[in-house]
């Protein structure tokens, strides 16, 4: 059964005429890990921002159904409450806002939006400490302001921590492997793999095959000029790695 | 009786300047329009006099106290003066291959100036006033109205000569111009210059101010700059006036759209000096960089006062000023970044840093932000202190003698402002940077004791 169905998605940068997504069609099945690969400028990050609802982009056509409901008219927080999570390529630093404050605010905002009671503080602390430990996030990192003074790897681990606490239906990982050394990559991948379930889907956006050695995808889609031009199994990623994008793009053209 | 109703006692300088205007005004060139400007400026000066510490913009440079007397207005330079001028001009030229534009005692001397590149015209202000060039009187009137600055008004009152440099649209000038301004005797010298860089044109202009030691001359000079659409002006300035001199310089710059303006002033001369910069963005997507290095010793007093006016959106400005103070010198930095309502996406950053080399100097900083638009990134920083003790110790532990260690660190301090100056428009930029850095080192090594 499909969890996320994107049809004819067309989007441009808000103040410019430059079209970035050109009638993109993509279906993500429930429980599936889908990799989206593509060269620079193919629209990978744009896709993730458009799905999350960033103001800088304007959707000119198409729809994106999450569990049958079009999320495109929703505000970013409504999309988050609907179960969409974006692990940012460049997570933001928020000076003065403590990690725990932020995590609790986010969890409770989503719980409220779903009509649930707010989480009790002792339960919250227990929950965070447990998940943080799995990701090698120490107490000192939890005491600091959100992402402030974190290394690239720490920021990415922090994204995965947020994902594991917010338990989304679909998680989009935008170049989560960029800027990570191999050890950090493993920790992040383990964090993702722990969360794989028949109810949850992942969209793993990446430039390189390397991440897919650790997060094994069910399907691989190739994005070029704002459209999916080819889809296949995990072997497609290996083919791209071996032959480069030019080859695939040419064949598709 | 209220404070404002009190007419302050006129100082000797104010009385002398007022008297000089009465005597000389008939001799000044130009028609009714210019005379009206002079008279209006005179009325202002007569009413307000020289600025003093109760005038907020002049709080730290009380000219009423620092300029007790006024020298007589400069007359035609005599033979002795001319030979002194020749020597000073050659000193100012140094090894630069720039085209000289020579100003002696405030007067433009066409005969001593070099051959001009195509697309560049140079006119004496006095000739232009006689010819009744309306653009000049309009520019002067606009500046009076916009800034209401007492020293600019004083300059307008004595508007007589200077130089007008026009760079035709689209001209990329490969040779630098070098305005060399010398004073030969104890005069009050007033001069006004205009540089207009046409659309798409680019040019590098150097400016040197020199004069004899031990002569208490006074100079009040104004430079108007217009940088047209897509044009570039890089402006390097050296102020090495004589040790008794009073030097007041005002720069009024209007920057058009997609333009670039970079100015650097290195100040070591003068007993009392003030360098005013009034820069305004009038078109979007432009960039301006304002820099300065000031080195003062004994009882020298130097003031840098700037107003960076972001009147339109999408412009970027950088202001970086370094002050090095020795003995009982006094430094002043006042910088204001204004962001007008709707000047969104403004990016402005200002920094003033001071190093004190002795226990006697004073430094006053007033870095201001005045912001009326929300989507901006503006910052200013300011530091005052001694040379880093740890660095001094480290250098000395490597065998560098105290004095050289100080020179090394001060040069490094000044380097930041000098090294990034210009983006290659000034042809002699490498020579210029080397000369300026060299002057920092020389200044440090010439310290007594």
């Amino acid at each position: 059964m499909s969890l996320l169905t994107i049809s004819n998605l067309t989007a441009k940068i808000a103040d410019e005429d430059k079209q970035i997504l050109n009638g993109l069609n993509l279906t993500i099945e429930k429980g599936q890990v889908a990799a989206i690969m593509g060269p620079n400028g193919s629209g990978k990050s744009t896709l993730s921002y458009v799905l999350a609802g960033r103001d800088d982009y304007e959707v000119t056509a198409g729809e994106a159904l999450l569990d049958g409901v079009d999320i495109l008219p929703m505000t970013p927080d409504e999309r988050a409450a609907a179960g969409l999570f974006l692990a940012f390529q460049y997570p933001m630093e928020i000076p003065g806002v403590g990690q725990m404050t932020f995590l609790k605010a986010a969890i409770n905002a989503q719980r409220r939006a779903r009509g649930l009671d707010e989480i009790k503080t002792p339960d919250f602390i227990k929950l965070v400490n447990g998940r943080a430990k799995e990701l090698g996030i120490g107490a000192d990192m939890l005491r600091r302001s959100v992402n402030v003074g974190f290394s690239g790897g720490e920021k990415k681990r922090n994204e995965i921590l947020q994902m594991s606490l917010l338990e989304p239906k679909v998680a989009i990982l935008d170049e989560t492997d960029s800027g990570l050394d191999i050890d950090a990559l493993k920790i992040v991948a383990e964090g993702v793999n722990r969360m794989r379930s028949p109810e949850r889907s992942f969209v793993v956006i990446t430039h390189y095959q390397r991440l897919l050695d650790y997060i094994k995808p069910d399907v691989v889609h190739v994005l070029s000029k704002g459209r999916i031009i080819r889809s296949g199994g995990p072997e497609l990623a290996l083919e791209l790695e071996a032959n480069g994008y030019a080859d695939v793009i040419e064949k598709a053209a | 009786m209220t404070m404002n109703a009190v007419t302050p006692m006129r100082t000797g300088a104010e009385a002398a300047l007022i008297a000089a205007y009465g005597v000389e005004k008939k001799e000044f060139p130009g028609g009714a329009a210019v005379n009206a400007l002079r008279d209006a400026a005179f009325a202002r000066f007569e009413a307000k006099g020289l600025p003093h510490r109760r005038v907020e913009e002049w709080k730290y440079t009380d000219l009423r106290a620092l300029m007790r007397d006024a020298r007589p207005l400069a007359a035609t330079t005599d033979v002795d003066g001319l030979s002194l001028a020749a020597e000073l001009v050659s000193r100012a030229k140094g090894s630069f291959k720039a085209i000289p534009i020579v100003i002696i005692d405030g007067q433009f001397i066409g005969a001593l100036s070099g051959r001009l590149p195509d697309g560049v015209t140079v006119t004496g202000l006095s000739d232009a006033l006689v010819a009744g060039r309306a653009d000049i009187s309009e520019a002067v009137a606009r500046a009076e109205e916009r800034f209401n600055d007492p020293l600019m008004a004083l300059n307008t009152m004595f508007l007589r000569d200077g130089v007008i440099i026009d760079v035709a649209a689209g001209t990329v000038v490969h040779d630098d111009l070098h305005i060399i301004s010398v004073v030969t005797a104890a005069h009050f010298v007033s001069s006004r210059h205009f540089v207009t860089v046409g659309a798409g044109a680019s040019i590098g202009i150097l400016e040197s101010h020199v004069g004899p030691a031990d002569v208490d001359y006074q100079k009040n000079t104004v430079l108007h700059v217009v940088v047209g659409e897509g044009a570039t002006l890089e402006h390097g300035r050296r102020q090495t006036e004589g040790d008794k001199a009073l030097h007041i310089a005002s720069l009024v710059a209007d920057i058009g759209p997609n333009a670039h303006f970079d100015t650097l002033t290195v100040t070591t001369g003068g007993a009392v000096s003030r360098n005013q910069l009034f820069v305004r963005f009038g078109g979007e997507n432009s960039k301006a960089t304002l820099r300065g290095v000031t080195m003062l010793r004994h009882k020298q007093h130097a003031d840098t006062t700037l107003v960076m006016d972001h009147a339109v959106p999408n412009c970027e400005s950088r202001e970086m000023f370094k002050t090095i103070l020795d003995h009982e010198a006094k430094g002043v930095f006042q910088g204001k970044i204004i962001v007008a309502p709707h000047a969104q996406k403004t990016d402005g950053r200002m920094m003033s840093q001071t190093i004190m080399l002795a226990d006697g100097p004073e430094m006053a900083n007033k870095p201001e932000l005045e912001i009326f638009a929300d989507d901006v990134q503006c910052a200013h920083g300011c530091t005052v202190g001694e040379l880093d003790e740890d660095l001094m110790f480290y250098l000395k532990s490597r065998g560098v003698p105290h004095k050289e260690a100080e020179a090394l660190l001060v040069e490094a301090f000044a380097r930041e402002a000098i090294e990034d100056f210009g983006e290659g428009t000034i042809a002699a930029i490498d020579d210029l940077r080397a000369a300026l850095l060299g002057s920092v080192t020389d200044w440090m090594l010439s310290r007594e004791g």
């Binding site: 999350a52 609802g53 103001d55 505000t75 970013p76 927080d77 988050a80 409450a81 999570f85 974006l86 940012f88 933001m92 630093e93 928020i94 000076p95 003065g96 806002v97 404050t101 932020f102 605010a105 986010a106 969890i107 905002a109 939006a113 302001s145 947020q162 917010l166 | 309502p341 709707h342 969104q344 004190m356 080399l357 002795a358 226990d359 006697g360 100097p361 004073e362 430094m363 006053a364 900083n365 007033k366 870095p367 201001e368 932000l369 912001i371 009326f372 638009a373 929300d374 989507d375 901006v376 990134q377 503006c378 910052a379 200013h380 920083g381 300011c382 530091t383 005052v384 202190g385 001694e386």
Partner: protein, 490 residues
């Protein structure tokens, strides 16, 4: 549409006026005749049965004031104040000098209850650890109506009460210190205050005593057309410590009301004074009608070696704020601190900052100022840091950041940094920016609404200052900031 814009628009629709303390209390008051003259000064002094020297001191100040002009250098604009159209003294008629709580007009007690300021000691004691107790001096218009925990404090040697009482009980102490930090001739408003001040708090902490509880004064302006001119004097003798908090509110009225207070702090050798203010005077409505004109002179004198004075202020109220809590660092190794949050919304105008005057050797100061402007407000930081020739080794660090919300407000920074000694190290940094769209988007992607995201980021922005407040007031201040920004950010 950018998130900030969206938020601004959403809340523009909501009533901007969120002021919770705008009710007025209906009780009979005794007013001095309207206007200001030597007779009025004598009247005030007589009402308080002051010693003759005090009456003369006031009259000297009044005569001096007549020769002074209102300062115009601040970035605030308001119509000319008619100083003859004000009442300079207003006291509850029933009992202007109650001896105990039982004598206080019940309407006043009800007022403080509504404001959340309990005045009955037994109510305050319920469930509170002794170290967390707070003693309150409640000033209603011109008079102090009650001071709590007076007796318990007296056991520790601490004098805490109204300055009027202190003039009778400890005249020598008051005379020794009054006007020594802010001279009666200091500035237009301070001089006016010296002439007509009605009440305020007096605190004396004896040598070596750590004040056993937080002290606080709660100022309430109630009467119409009344100026409030309180005067506070705090003396921390050698080696003592006190933490003091000041709160203020006023009813919503269409007219502007004048508040011109003077606060003097004296810290002797090794003493420390921590002075916190949560200023929530009525700010006026969104169009700028009504609100308090707050012209305040606050100054601390670190008179002794190794003394320390720390100012923390959360300024959310007043139509006009003109206020520069300052430190004179006279003693060697003394320290001054200024932590400030100034929030302006609607048509508010804030011109506030500090002066750190380094006179002694190895004196240190720290300034952290966070300004938040929204609506059509103008918010200016104005500060002076100076090191005199003898202030060898002086150090200052200043950080002032401004945050703009919406395109119709202004944020301005006017620091003066003057050094006359090479051994001083001054560092100053200032930034102005708007809330980052990227950060807001990040927060909203995690499920926070636009309003929640802005509130979270603003709280992060002011955190360094909030942390300086006594614990009990931190949460209160945090809420106050959010409320003040309602109507601009939700």
């Amino acid at each position: 549409m950018p998130a900030v814009q969206e938020t601004v628009d959403t809340v523009r629709a909501i009533d901007v006026d969120q002021y919770k303390y705008g009710f007025s209390t209906d009780i009979e008051m005794e007013l001095a005749p309207k206007g200001l003259s030597e007779d009025i000064v004598r009247y005030i002094s007589a009402r308080k049965s002051e010693p003759e020297w005090m009456t003369e001191w006031r009259l000297d100040a009044y005569r001096r004031w007549l020769t002074m002009r209102e300062p115009t250098w601040a970035r605030v604009h308001y119509p000319q104040i008619d100083f003859q159209d004000l009442y300079y003294y207003a006291a509850p008629k029933s009992n202007p000098a109650p001896k105990s709580l039982d004598e206080v007009d019940p309407a006043i007690l009800e007022t403080y209850k509504k404001l959340g300021i309990p005045l009955r000691e037994q109510e305050m004691l319920a469930g509170i650890e002794p170290q967390n107790r707070i003693a309150v001096d409640a000033v209603f218009d011109s008079v102090s109506v009650v001071t709590t925990f007076k007796e318990e404090l007296r056991k520790a040697g601490v004098i805490f009460g109204s300055i009027s009482d202190a003039l009778h009980e400890f005249p020598d102490l008051v005379r020794q210190y009054l006007g020594t930090v802010v001279p009666a001739t200091d500035n237009f408003y301070a001089t006016l205050n010296a002439a007509v001040f009605s009440d305020g708090s007096f605190v004396y902490i004896p040598p070596g005593v750590r004040c056993p509880m937080e002290l606080s004064t709660y100022f309430r302006i109630n009467e119409q057309k009344t100026g409030q001119f309180e005067r506070t004097l705090i003396i921390a003798d050698k080696g003592s410590y006190v933490s003091y908090l000041e709160g203020c509110t006023a009813p919503k009225r269409d007219e502007n009301q004048l508040h011109a207070a003077v606060v003097e702090l004296v810290a002797l050798d090794d003493a420390e004074i921590k002075y916190s203010t949560v200023q929530n005077w009525y700010p006026g409505d969104a169009e700028g009608r009504g609100g308090i004109y707050n012209f305040v002179t606050k100054r601390g004198d670190c008179r002794g070696d190794r003394s320390k004075i720390s100012w923390t202020q959360v300024e959310t109220g007043s139509a006009i704020t003109w206020k520069y809590p300052s430190c004179i660092l006279r003693g060697d190794d003394s320290q001054g601190e200024f932590y400030s949050i100034a929030v302006s919304n609607g048509a508010q105008q804030v011109d506030s900052g500090t002066k750190m005057i380094h006179l002694g050797k190895n004196t240190r100061s720290r300034v952290v100022s966070k300004g938040i402007s929204a609506g059509k407000s103008q918010n200016t930081y104005r500060g002076l840091v100076s090191a005199h020739r003898k202030a060898k080794g002086a150090k200052n660090f200043t950080n002032c950041d401004s945050l703009l919300i919406g395109e119709n407000c202004g944020a301005h920074t006017v620091p003066y940094i003057e050094s006359k000694t090479s051994t001083a190290v001054f560092e100053h940094e200032a930034t102005t920016s708007k809330i980052s769209e990227d950060i807001l988007f990040y927060c909203r992607q995690r499920g926070l609404t636009a309003e929640e995201a802005v509130a979270l980021v603003v709280n992060g922005f002011v955190k360094d200052v909030l942390q300086q407040l006594p614990m009990e007031f931190m949460v209160e201040a945090q809420k106050l900031i959010s409320i003040s920004l309602e109507g601009s950010v939700g």
